[in-house]
């Protein structure tokens, strides 16, 4: 299997006056094509910094990030990134927000309108296509952002705690929808979360991050798909993996 994203000896610091805040130190990771990798870690362990670097939005202080073998020169539409904060354009309706990536790519007007409507329906916002982001609840904005990111048509998708603010019911549905989408398209997904259950429900592989981006555990998840929440969570293997990840996280806290 070919490697889509590779991080080599990466260090990221944020310099301010005479103090440098080190977010990641000598971090290494490779993501294989078509896999669903969840990154599990506590707040402040450099998860978001890592995604910013993988997306090409920020540049490493030292080390390299390779996208399909060549170093990153900046963001590319081949990599979709669902950031933690809302970045819907407040002056555009949901419909026009979802159309935006296709607008930039130069897609034909009728085609992008139809595609956007389809995506909006997928995330359950069909009735709110003409609403502006500020008229929507936080969860609805999240779903609109998800639709917009999917409109990008990227083959590699980075997600930063995308379902953190949603209610449990909706989160389960969106997780299932995402797993289905991933199965259907064969995309590569890097999914950051701080929720052990979410990491196990979604990932083929869970990478547990400790402080400064040290990898505490790199665990393959050998649970059958599709993973129905009700029955998966009571499987002995799930319980076992849950305990392994929890103890790895605890180890990092020390």
């Amino acid at each position: 299997m070919s490697i889509v994203l590779e991080v080599e000896h990466l260090t990221k610091e944020f310099q301010r006056d005479d103090v440098a805040t080190v977010a990641l130190r000598d971090f290494n990771l490779s993501i294989e094509e078509g896999t669903f990798v969840t990154i599990l870690g506590r707040s402040g362990c450099g998860k978001s910094t890592m995604l910013n670097l993988l997306s090409g939005l920020s540049k490493p202080t030292s080390g390299r990030v390779l996208h399909r073998g060549s170093p990153h020169s900046g963001p590319t539409p081949d990599i979709g990134y669902l950031t933690q904060t809302d970045t819907l354009m407040p002056w555009r309706s949901v419909q026009r927000n979802v159309e935006m990536p296709m607008e930039i790519a130069g897609t034909d007007k009728a085609e992008r309108g139809a595609r956007a409507r389809e995506l909006i329906a997928t995330v359950g916002l069909a009735e709110f296509a003409d609403s502006y982001p500020r008229e929507l609840s936080g969860g609805m904005r999240r779903r609109a952002s998800l639709a917009r990111m999917l409109a990008n048509g990227a083959e590699t998708i980075l997600m930063d705690e995308p379902f953190g603010a949603l209610d449990a019911q909706l989160r389960a549905e969106l997780q299932r929808e995402l797993a289905r989408l991933w199965k259907a398209t064969g995309h590569t997904i890097v999914f950051v979360t701080h929720d052990i259950e979410e990491a196990l429900m979604l990932g083929d592989r869970v990478v547990v991050l400790g402080p400064l981006g040290t990898i505490l555990l790199d665990q393959q998840v050998d649970l059958d798909r599709p993973r129905e929440p009700d029955e998966t969570k009571v499987r002995p293997r799930f319980v076992e993996l849950h305990a392994t990840l929890a103890s790895a996280l605890k180890k990092g806290a020390r």
Partner: protein
């Protein structure tokens, strides 16, 4: 997390939404306009009371010449309307104000947008612009007379200069306040700098531009009228000066009333523009 197990929907596409629902609601005319009607009635009441008190004060004051009264002002207005004086002078002032406002606002918006988009340029020019902004524009009137004569040009330019700085500063502030997250979002979609400028910075700076347009209306009027007061034989400013020189207080007030009307019309026009551009602002 345990509530997740209560998931009972298994639709492949489309999610069970628990969000708000949109429903049609017919509202009666009175329900929709109750508040507006009350506010407007009260406003009219306040104006009427003011006019009444003014009339009484004018009739009882020791020297009515200083305060005049609404009836005399009205008589003066109608006399001027009939003999065409008012129309001629008002038209001149409107031309100066509108030309000055449009030129100043366009230049201010363009300069604000262009300068603030490039950080180095903005850092260089910002203190200079602030310094120029701080100059009382009235002080420039004599200079403009030397440069442009005492015709309409000098008033237009005085109005334009006053408007320029306000629109410039507000637009620049709007451009610089653009959310970094939105810019990053466009970069992630593979957008070029041009996409960022047109699809993010331009709409985001609209709020600043509109603030600038709103606050600068009075300054367009000030510029034009000051110009007329300093040197002119036409326009409402001249009419005020001329009436005052003849101790015609009613004439001064009549001209001021017309100026107020011009300002209100301009305010309304810009207000309509603003509400169209700001349709995405949150619902109250």
């Amino acid at each position: 997390m345990t509530t997740e197990s209560s998931a009972d929907t298994d639709a492949p596409t489309g999610l069970s939404t628990s969000g708000p629902v949109k429903e049609a609601r017919r509202r009666s005319w009175w329900y929709r306009n109750r508040r507006t009607t009350i506010v407007w009635s009260l406003r009219a009441g306040v104006v009427l009371v003011f006019l009444l008190l003014w009339q009484i004060a004018g009739n009882t004051a020791a020297n009515p010449m200083f305060v005049s009264d609404p009836v005399s002002v009205w008589e003066q207005l109608s006399a001027w309307i009939v003999d065409g004086t008012l129309g001629r002078h008002t038209w001149i002032t409107i031309q100066e104000v509108v030309l000055g406002y449009v030129i100043g606002a366009a230049a201010g918006a363009l300069a604000g947008y262009a300068l603030a988009s490039i950080r180095l340029v903005y850092d260089v020019f910002e203190p200079l612009m602030m310094a120029l902004y701080s100059i009382p524009k009235v002080a420039l009137a004599p200079l403009f007379i030397v440069w442009f004569g005492i015709g309409i040009d000098m008033k237009v330019i005085l109005a334009a200069v006053s408007v320029f700085f306000l629109v410039f500063l507000n637009t620049a502030a709007g451009v610089r306040d653009v959310d970094r997250g939105l810019v990053d979002a466009v970069r992630l979609m593979g957008g070029s700098n041009r996409d960022i400028a047109i699809k993010v910075v331009l709409p985001a700076s609209m709020t600043g531009l509109i603030t600038g347009l709103k606050v600068s209306i009075p300054y367009a009027l000030i510029g034009a009228v000051i110009g007329e007061l300093v040197a002119s034989n036409r326009g409402l400013g001249y009419l005020i000066n001329d009436s005052a020189a003849q101790f015609n207080t009613a004439g001064v007030f009549a001209a001021v009333v017309v100026l107020t009307a011009v300002a209100m019309v301009l305010n309304t026009l810009v207000g309509v523009l603003a509400s169209r551009a700001n349709r995405w602002k949150p619902l109250d």
